[in-house]
Symmetry: C2
Amino acid sequence: THNYRITLLPGDGIGPEIMTVAVEVLKAVGQQCNLQFDFQEALIGGAAIDATGSPLPEETLLKCRNSEAVLLAAIGGYKWDNLPRPQRPETGLLGLRAGLELFANLRPAKILPQLIDASSLKREVVEGVDIMVVRELTGGVYFGQPKGIFTTETGEKRGVNTMAYTESEIDRIGRVAFETAQKRQGRLCSVDKANVLEVSQLWRDRISALASEYPDIELSHLYVDNAAMQLVRAPKQFDTIVTGNLFGDILSDAAAMLTGSIGMLPSASLGASGPGVFEPVHGSAPDIAGQDKANPLAQVLSAAMMLRYGLNQPEAADKIEQAVLQVLDSGYRTGDIMSEGMKPVGCQAMGEALLQAL
Amino acid sequence: THNYRITLLPGDGIGPEIMTVAVEVLKAVGQQCNLQFDFQEALIGGAAIDATGSPLPEETLLKCRNSEAVLLAAIGGYKWDNLPRPQRPETGLLGLRAGLELFANLRPAKILPQLIDASSLKREVVEGVDIMVVRELTGGVYFGQPKGIFTTETGEKRGVNTMAYTESEIDRIGRVAFETAQKRQGRLCSVDKANVLEVSQLWRDRISALASEYPDIELSHLYVDNAAMQLVRAPKQFDTIVTGNLFGDILSDAAAMLTGSIGMLPSASLGASGPGVFEPVHGSAPDIAGQDKANPLAQVLSAAMMLRYGLNQPEAADKIEQAVLQVLDSGYRTGDIMSEGMKPVGCQAMGEALLQAL
Ligand SMILES: CC(C)[C@H](C(=O)O)[C@@H](O)C(=O)O
Ligand SMILES: CC(C)[C@H](C(=O)O)[C@@H](O)C(=O)O
């Protein structure tokens, strides 16, 4: 038996409920695959602010560092929206990414045949869509210095952020992207704004240079505005997309929404060494928190990504993904993905259906 | 009779052909409305590079400044793609925006019932969509200093751009947006990334402060990633959107593509004083240039925007827009918007149909 120490960060809103389901699923699949999980909980986001005043207490970061993987649910809520920046839930999330050096964010956007009608796009446009967005996560305008609100010589305020990448930052995310494309259909589209931004020009130059090391990969480049258009127009053209932090934030959400059901989408954030963080794409949905209405499937699929990318246990990951498809085939639906003729269930009942399927 | 001096910038690719149609339409509507146009041509983009070495010759900028409005077609093409940045077509466009201080870019994305099936989105999702994106055009990361590719202390290259806005820059685009919303449905959505970026925080603070001067406008705020999702999920929720240069570039293209027919979409770029620039959203389509295949309607609708926003001649603008709807109703379609049962026409024939309709 393998023994893994996993840090759980339930966070805010629906976080705790969906985390409960994911933990049960992990335990069940662990028994089948001879994996033991040693779960330890820690605070992040609003929950951490309320308890300690900080959205990312030092203890949380230590626990994460001291584990093989981190399973995160969701953070934030109206309650903490108007706090000053250092005490906001998002700051905790950015601190976690920086603290664990999670430079590579993998965001799959895959259309499930069972849920295809949830898409706002025509069936023939989205049928078979299977995109992986590889987003750089610890650089770019999110972290560039200088940043702040300064006073100019004429006495007015000026808000400033710096969009910057070094060659080595580009290379390391580029390699992850090429390697990701190798495990997929072998097509990589790099997205930038090289016709306007110098930082994008360097990005394009380095990604193009890397391509010679991956002769099996078909590399293309798109400007970010065009990429946004192409995602709407003809998303099937994409296999793997690699881009910077801000463009990745925007495009991965647009790609996610092509599926029409972001309650289904997991993500992985990986560093060079140390634990990865696995979390759903959706938010903390404070309006339905605590009502047993949340869809736990993205959280469960995040646990599957943890097994696949964080713990190198692909069979266990497969089992979870199969179980998810099976409950969908059986017609179980939480409110966000409900459609006519299907069986409405709450968060807990969806969890039970998953355990049955396993 | 009013007499207007108009600078024409046909640019590259299909630019000259679609410009010819727009000029004929302007002449025809001018006769009906007692408007006289004194057209002067000038070079920009690739055409200007070939003739003078610069994508924006000084003479072009002077001619533009010395006119009441500028009608631009499209710039760029493979031929000039690998030139150094100062000699690229896009640099000419950015120089024109900066040189004329065109800080406000209006990009409508309106679904025409005649073309609704061209959309990749479901009919019920896009029916009635009518969005105006007000994009800041002379600030933000497009123009912020410092920018460039520098060498770090460790000897590696670092690409840097600066995303910055001052209070006065935000206020002036904010006012245009509130006033635009007043002429529309009275709903304004400001898009930023205030949960991460200080420049966005200042943006949100200023836009919120301005709102007290426009009590008739319903103001909301969205983060840019969520805005991209909402455009895909439920675009009808939007009336007027205001955002910075880069976010506006991405979101206005995504919004445009909701219509499925970007060959139909015009835009206006306005300054505090001096001439505005009016141009289609689509590019120069070098692959079909000179073959009489281009769709001139976005160019023609740009001429209508010129009449409306640049020359304050709304009746003449109305006439042109009516003519466009009429040719569509009559079934005329260029290749990009062709569908079964319609009458295929080339660029010139579409122009003749418009003159007939007028
Ligand atoms: C909450 C926010 C800081 C975060 C981001 O912008 O990265 C979120 O939008 C995401 O994509 O994970
Ligand atoms: C060509 C390019 C510089 C330009 C921009 O990014 O502004 C274009 O994409 C646009 O939106 O007008």
